[in-house]
Symmetry: C3
Subunit: 310 residues, 3 copies
C-alpha cells in the first residue's frame, strides 16, 4: 500500500480490520514506531472526528502532528501548464513536494463541490497530491470516498456482530443540505469485502452511481428493506442524476425506533437529530455511533502504521 485514498487500497481487508481491533486493546504498543516522524493534515474543509482521531492515533504511534487549515496558507493551482497570473499563488506541484520535505505522511480532506459530477469524480485535490507528493497520502475524506470511516465501520460491525452472516442495510435518510457521496461509497465498497448480506434502500430518484451499486439489491421500500436487519446504516446523500440536488419530500425516511426493530443503528456523524434519526434511537442502546467514532482512532492508526512500516 503506497497511499490510502480508497478502501480497495488495502491489500488484505480482513487482516487490516483485525489488526486495527487489536490496536484498540493496546493503543500505545507501537509508540516508538513514529518517533521523529510527522503527519501533516491539510484541511480544505472543517473536521472534528477525523482531526481528533488522527491526532490521537499519531500520538499513540509517537508521531508529531501538524494541522494546516487551508485558510492559514494559500490558494493552490491544480491545472498543468497554467500561466499563474490570477489568484492561485502556488502550484500543487510545489506544495505537495515541499510538504513532502517536512512530512512523512500527508492527510488531506477535500470535499466535492457537488456542482459538477465529472469534476467531483476526478477528486482533483487528492489525486494531485498523490501524483506529486513524495510521501504516502491518506484521504481524510475526498470527493469520492471516506475510506477511514469505512474501515472504522467495518471494525464496528465485526465487533458487534453475533450472526453467522449479518444483514446490513444502507438506508438513505433526509437532510436539509446536499451531502456528498463519499461515506456511502466507501461503506458500499467495505461491505463488498465482508461476509454480509448487504442491500441498499432509498427513495426512487436517489440512486447512487450505477457502477458502484452494480449487483447490489436496491429497494425503494424502506420498511421491507429494513425487515430483520442486524445493522442499519443511515446516511443522506444528494441526488446523483441530476447531480447534487437536495431530495425534498421524504421526511418519513427518518430512522425511528419502530423501523429499526432489533437492529443496530450506524451513522458516521455529525447527525441531525430528528431529521436523519430520531432522538429515541440515538439516546438508546441500539446506537453504535459512538463506537464508530471511537474506532476511527484505531482505523487511522492501523493505516498510518502500515504506511510507516512499508
Amino acid at each position: 500500500m503506497k497511499h490510502y485514498t480508497n478502501i480497495f487500497d488495502l491489500k488484505n481487508f480482513d487482516l487490516t480490520v483485525s489488526e486495527a481491533l487489536a490496536l484498540k486493546s493496546d493503543p500505545r504498543k507501537f509508540v516508538e514506531l513514529g518517533k521523529g516522524k510527522r503527519i501533516v493534515m491539510l484541511f480544505f474543509n472543517p473536521s472534528l472526528r477525523t482531526r481528533l482521531s488522527t491526532e490521537v492515533a499519531a500520538a499513540n504511534l509517537g508521531m508529531d502532528v501538524t494541522i494546516l487549515n487551508v485558510g492559514d496558507s494559500w490558494s493552490l493551482e491544480f491545472e498543468d501548464g497554467t500561466v499563474m497570473n490570477m489568484d492561485a499563488s502556488e502550484h500543487v506541484k510545489e506544495a505537495a513536494r515541499v510538504i513532502s520535505l517536512y512530512a512523512d505522511i500527508i492527510g488531506i480532506r477535500a470535499f466535492p463541490g457537488l456542482k459538477n459530477k465529472e469534476e467531483d469524480r476526478a477528486d482533483k485535490i487528492l489525486q494531485s497530491f498523490k501524483t506529486y507528493a513524495d510521501v504516502p497520502v491518506i484521504s481524510l475524506e475526498g470527493s469520492t470516498g471516506h475510506p477511514l470511516q469505512a474501515l472504522a465501520d467495518a471494525m464496528t460491525i465485526t465487533e458487534y456482530n453475533s450472526s453467522f452472516r449479518p444483514k446490513v442495510v444502507l438506508t438513505w435518510a433526509p437532510h436539509p443540505k446536499p451531502l456528498p457521496h463519499a461515506v456511502p461509497t466507501s461503506f458500499i465498497r467495505a461491505m463488498s469485502q465482508m461476509d454480509v448480506e448487504f442491500s441498499i434502500t432509498h427513495p426512487e430518484g436517489l440512486a447512487l452511481d450505477p457502477e458502484l451499486t452494480r449487483g447490489i439489491h436496491v429497494s425503494y421500500d424502506q420498511e421491507s428493506a429494513l425487515q430483520d436487519a442486524d445493522f442499519v446504516y443511515a446516511k443522506n446523500w444528494a441526488t446523483y442524476e441530476p447531480y447534487g440536488q437536495v431530495a425534498d419530500g421524504f421526511d418519513n425516511w427518518m430512522i425511528t425506533k419502530e423501523k429499526l426493530d432489533h437492529a443496530y443503528l450506524m451513522h458516521c456523524l455529525p447527525v441531525r437529530r430528528n431529521v436523519v434519526v430520531e432522538d429515541r434511537v440515538l439516546d438508546g442502546s441500539q446506537s453504535l455511533v459512538l463506537s464508530q467514532s471511537e474506532n476511527r482512532i484505531y482505523a487511522v492508526q492501523q493505516i498510518i502504521k502500515n504506511l510507516l512500516e512499508e
Copy 2:
C-alpha cells in the same frame, strides 16, 4: 472534584493555592502523570493567556494538547428535542460524547452574549458539555466565571502579601466595550475563601448580581475605597441592570498612580492602557499583572493534575 467550572468546585481552596505555588518551583515534577493523555481545548472565543498557559501546563504534565477553534469545525445545537433542519449540524450530545472518546480532559471557552441575562446565567455551552461529556470539563472562561484566572489571582495575592490580613479592593474601571462579569464574579468568590479584608467600589448603577455581592462592603466613592488598600484589582464590567450596557461618563475611574498609593495593581489582562489603568502604573513596580499571567500556568496545571489524579 469532577469538573472545574467554578472556583467553589475546589474541595480545599487553601491547599490548592499552596500546591499550585509549589508546582511553580518545580514545574516538570509530574511530567510522567499525563503521558498518553490529551486535553482538548474548545475555543468559542479568542484566547492568548488561557490558551498558552494551558499548553505550557499540559506539556509540564507530559500531556498532548489539541486546540479547536470552533470556526474550524461546526455549529452546535444545544436544545433538547430539536428537529435539526436549520444551521446547526451537530448536537452537543454527540459533540461532547465524541470529544470524550478522544480527550481525557475538555477545556471550554464560551463568552456570554451580554444580550440576555437569563441566557448568560444559564452558561449553556459549559453546562451542556458538563452534562454530556464523559471526561472532566474545565472552564477556560464561561459566561458566569473565569475560575482559572481567580485561582491565579489568589496565588498572586498569597505570594505578594506581607500583611496579616491584607486589604483587597475590586474596583470597576472604564472600558469602551461591554465586558462580561466572569472575571469579577470568580474573583469575588475567590476572595470569600481567603482571609482578606475585601470590598468593592464602582459607580452608582454598576452593581453586580446582588446574590454575588451579598454581605460585601460596596462603595460608590473610589477614592475612599482605595484608601490603605494592599491590593487593588481593576476590572471593567458592563451594567447588570439593565443588562449588558457600556457605562459612559466615568473616565475618571481609571486607575492612576496617585489613586493606587502604596497598593499593588492587579488586572487579568488584556488591559487597555490609559483607559483602565494609566501607563505609569503598568510600567511601574506596583503592577502584578505579569505575575498573575505567569501564575495562570500553575493554576491550570494544578487543576489538571487534580483531575487526572481523581
Copy 3:
C-alpha cells in the same frame, strides 16, 4: 546573538552555514537540547514553508511548538502612550511580555503593507516584540528581511557550488501583485558575506533601496547579466520609488531555460509558474527550489540551537 531578525545578527556567517549543513546529516543529534522548552510562532500573515520547517526543526530539538494565527487572538496596539479606547484591545508591551512568560523563543511573521515606505522600513511589529519580549525573537519574515530564507539560500549555494568563486545573479521577475522587498534584501545581505561574484539585474525603474545595493553591480540588461551565471535567483519585488507599485510590461523578464543556460535556478517559493519562471525550468534538474525549502529546516534549527545555547 540575542535575536535573529537580520542575517547580520549572525556572529559568524560561514560557521553558521557549515553548522546548519552539519545538522542536515544528523537532524536529531540535539534532541535533548530543547526538552521542556517552547517556541511560540505568531503569524500576522499566512505561512506554509516557514511554519512547517520551524515545526520540524523545533521537534528535532525536542521543543514544543505553539502556532498563533493572529486572527485567533486580538488586535494589538503598538504606539506608546495611546489612550486605548479604539479597536486594539492589548498593547504589544503586555503581549510581548506575557508571551515571554510562556515561551523560550518567539517567532514572528509580519509582512509590510507596501503603502508607506517609512512605516515598512520601521518594521514596527518585529521591532516592538524585540523591544518588549524577555526572550529571543526570530523573524519569520518581517517588512525588511527574511533572514531564515537567506540562510537557507546560502546553505544551498554552498552545497551546490563547484566553482572557485561562483557567479550569482539576482534577477527581478514578473508577478501580478506587489511583493515585499524582504527576500531580495536578505539575499543581498547574505551574498555580501559569501565569496561570490554577485550582481543584480532588473528593469529600469525597479531599483531597490540604494543603501542596500551600494557597491553592487546592477544591470538593466537581463540577457547579458545572466551570461555565465552559476546561480540565478529569480524574485519579484514591487517598485521602491514610487513605493509599492506593480511593474507592468516586463513579462519577458520571466526566467526560461534558454536564459538560464547552465545555471542553477533559485527561488524562495511560492512561485507562480509561467509568470516568474517557466514550467520547463521548475520541472527540470537545474531547479534548486526544493533544496532551498529543505534547507529551511536546518537553517532555523541552527538559529534556534544557537539562541537556546546562549
